[in-house]
Symmetry: C2
Subunit: 129 residues, 2 copies
């Protein structure tokens, strides 16, 4: 039986140092390293500098994707972690991102997707990490 279930975490970080969020190589490497932390591997990625500032990126996993968008001058970054490798894998990636970027505040929503039984997504608002 092929399972369609996936865990999707929407993560928001606040009060992150501006220099971290405007450092292209640092943001890119952090997202790539999050795949290692969650024991997944990636197929490819695309990152871009935003105007006037900030970094946007997506990373295709074998079983989902990661994404990032940073607003350095607001100390804010939004992330997505979507994996079919289970909630543990997704939470490891989240933990790595929070520990690496050291936000003053963060919040997350976990959404369990792809339930064939009732065809509705299950939402959990987390206390995280």
């Amino acid at each position: 039986m092929i399972r369609t279930q996936g865990t999707h975490i929407l993560l928001e970080l606040w009060q992150v140092p501006e220099l971290s969020l405007s450092d292209f190589a640092f943001v890119k490497n952090t997202l790539i390293q999050a795949t290692t932390a969650s024991c997944t591997s990636y197929e490819g990625f695309k990152f871009s500098k935003c105007k006037p500032t900030g970094i946007s990126g997506v990373l295709l996993l074998k079983e989902g994707h990661l994404s990032v968008r940073t607003w350095p001058e607001r100390g804010y970054a939004s992330f997505d972690i979507y994996t079919c490798g289970g909630e543990v894998s997704a939470r490891k990636a989240m933990k790595y991102l929070v520990e690496t970027l050291k936000p003053g505040k963060h919040n997350a929503i976990t959404i369990e997707r792809g339930f064939e039984t009732n065809e509705a997504m299950q939402i959990k608002i987390n206390e995280v990490v």
Copy 2:
């Protein structure tokens, strides 16, 4: 003032013809065309074939991202539409995806992200399209 707000739609389609969801060029072109439908443009993309079947892809927008994962043998596909171009733009992309893939059923969750005032994400469970 630089706004951090973004609209994120998590969209799930069920009962989609298996042939549509296993057609690499069709799935890729549909996601690319969704950017045109929503009046946005993209910076790059990465698509991959899954094992044993299915297609996975991410598309980096100037102001967010789109993603897709299909399970053809289950008639199921999950999409993400995250844009800082406003809810109207995101909903246009969603409408295009539903009209193009013609699912028997679909459901979506809209999440408004990046509110500086209360630093919490706002969730809306939609009746869509």
